[in-house]
Amino acid sequence: MSLSATHPVLLVAVPLFFAALCPVVGMWKRAACFYWALAGVAVTGFLTWTLIGKVTASHALTYNVGGWRPPFGIQIRIDYLGVFMACTITGVSMLVLVYCHRYATHDLKPERIPYFYTLFLLIFLAMIGFSITGDIFNMFVFMEIFSITSYALVAITGQKAAVRAAFKYLLMGATSSLTILLAISFLYSVTGSLNMPDISARLGSMRSTYLPVAAVALAFFVVGFTVKAALFPLHGWLPDAHSMAPSPVSAILSALVIKMGVFGILRIFFTVFGRSFSGLSASWGTLLSVLSWVAAIAIVAGAALAVFQKDLKYMIAYSSVSHIGYILLGICMLSPRGMTGGFYNLLAHALGKACLFLVAGAFIYKLGVRRISDLKGLGRKMPVTAGAFALASLSIVGIPPSAGFVAKFYLVWGSLQKGQYAFVVFILLGSLLAAVYCFRVVYYLFFTASDGPAPGVDEVPVTMWAPCALLALGTLFFGLYSGLIIPSLQTAARLLLR
């Protein structure tokens, strides 16, 4: 079999190799770990991006690990969504990793640096593995990898508040993982399979007495994954964890890890259960509608809570709670336009939120400031990072021509199409509140004078401002050139809705 046919499994095998050897590299030369991790992410990134063409050609790329056909073995199944997630993960991780170079040496004890990069590679590979697998238990295993590594990454600085936040995160995260494992076992007991398309087929031909078990499994999946995604009101772990973590970790967590929860819901509802499955359509439909309302409320609740925050990182964290609402609302709309809006929000938020957290980290790195009121006049002192913040805010609020605007536009369009005018109100209200909390910061940065003498320009090192700038420009790029991926996303949505 040619090298290109083994392409899918390399997406996991390559970063695994880099992660396994990272501590050894650290033992040899601590400074080399950064470059080792960079190489690992870069190679995986190359592999991911070159997959795009293959997936668009054949709609889904499969690979049977060990040569066993499913359901006897584990199959890697990369569809449009999988490659979309994988590319987002690699793109954002690459930029955040570059930022980590300075940040790690500044914030972490030197002995921990090799393990920081090891954990980074592990969380990276776990998210990719989660996105590309076609086996539900395999998905659980990768989910545990990124969960365990994220608990440690939050607490890695050893600060009091961070360790406390990590413990709360661990308790809620582990409980939700167990709920998901329970759901997997319920599903296994009535279908006998762990392969997602196979489960779907078996559910269709299952004895109707077993249907309630599948419905209960679905409910448990939803609870478990919504905790992972930090959907209001089960978001309790997120504000502390994302605010107290080191800033690049906050960026990865908010931009990528919580999206795994959303991705899990997508897989469960559409690949495992599927819309055309008539036996459970009542519970399936009801759960999705309930979820869409919870998401709509989350949009406003998260944004409102963000407005009241005095700490910059807490504000950004609550904004993430709000945006998960946008993404889930789009997905629960069950129309190609709505779902495209959800996916595009995923991308726009990943880029924008990572940028916001990295900039917040830059402010902490340079000046140790965390309170919004202390940001007065920083726009003059740190123009590039503050500018990136402003640009990314446009996307978070949803102002043209940013990616966030395109995303929310599709959400509104989808809602109008379905006649859900209430959702439009929630979306617009969310944007209004986002404008309040984001532009307040921008106002302090650029339109107030700092207390004390006028500062000269004193930016963070280039390895820190460049990722911020690139992420912010990314939100602009994907706003202007949305035509690049919108059609594929719409195809993906249609395929899911079949």
Binding site: M1, T6, V9, A13, L16, F17, A19, A20, L21, P23, V24, M27, Y63, N64, V65, G66, G67, W68, P71, F72, G73, I74, K109, E111, R112, Y115, F116, T118, L119, L122, L125, A126, G129, D135, F137, N138, V141, I145, I148, T149, A152, L153, A155, I156, G158, F186, S189, V190, T191, G192, S193, R202, M206, T209, Y210, P212, V213, V216, A217, A219
Partner: protein, 251 residues
């Protein structure tokens, strides 16, 4: 108030859970969906296809080897997490009273340990290598090895244990589980078959089976050693004496 909310939530979960149990296929049944779909093939063909009489080992290493690779990654990430949070144990510098083991020197404990531990290690090696023909396997044996080294550390003290299992030797071994999987998987790729395939094409039947046995043993050994060393390292990191400074009773 909070307790009441928790109890209400638990009651709801209880009702839903018990309801599902009422609808699930009967326990102990022979024709339940989970036993009739994939399992017959595993039981019938497991020995010849997967090379293991212990079907569970066949599933873990062969049919669902990718999951086991993920599992070794989980335990490795636990190690990385623990070390990132706790840092490695300090190299022993001098024999002071602070370094002394908290376990009192008991002749009985030490003598019994001296006799029992080597046997335990031997048993662990047996367990690792006998994953295929009988109950056993990599992780199981690895846990036993890890436990025996931890007992050594508890009885003789951490400094003695780190002397015998120095960091320089442990660190590369910690990665051995994941690397064993990768190495064996890549062999399959080199022969043109799927990752983690153990029957290599182009070899005669007998040779192919021997090669498969060998590859599975390498993975088992990798998991055993890697897993065991990881447990040891985690406990060593937690056992740092200087962390537990003597303090007043906190009531």
């Amino acid at each position: 108030m909070k307790k009441a909310l928790v109890l209400m939530a638990l009651a709801l979960i209880a009702v839903v859970f018990i309801y599902a149990i009422g609808k699930m296929p009967p326990m102990n049944g022979k024709d339940t969906p989970d036993k009739t779909h994939v399992v017959p093939r595993y039981l019938e063909k497991g020995e010849e296809e997967a090379g293991a009489r212990n079907i569970i080992t066949g599933i873990i290493l062969n049919y669902r080897g990718y999951d086991t690779m993920g599992e070794t990654t989980v335990i490795f990430s636990a190690l990385a997490a623990v070390i990132a949070l706790l840092d490695r144990e300090k190299r022993r510098r001098s024999r002071s009273s602070v370094d002394a083991s908290k376990v009192e020197t008991s002749t009985v404990v030490r003598t019994v340990a001296r006799f029992v531990l080597p046997v335990v290690v031997l048993f662990a090696v047996y367990t690792i290598l006998h994953g295929e023909p009988s109950a056993g396997g990599g992780f199981q044996g690895g846990a036993i090895i890890g436990a025996s080294i931890i007992i050594f550390a508890l009885v003789w003290g951490l400094p003695e244990a780190t002397d015998r299992m120095p960091l320089g030797a442990r660190l590369p071994l910690e990665s051995s589980a994941m690397l064993a999987f990768l190495a064996m998987g890549v062999i399959g790729l080199a022969y043109g078959v799927h990752f983690l395939t153990f029957i290599l094409p182009g070899l005669s039947a007998g040779v192919a089976e021997t090669v498969r046995s060998l590859m599975l043993t390498v993975i088992e050994a990798g998991i055993g050693v890697g897993g065991g060393i990881i447990f040891v390292s985690i406990v060593f990191a937690m056992m740092r004496e200087d962390r537990y400074e003597l303090q007043q009773d906190r009531k």
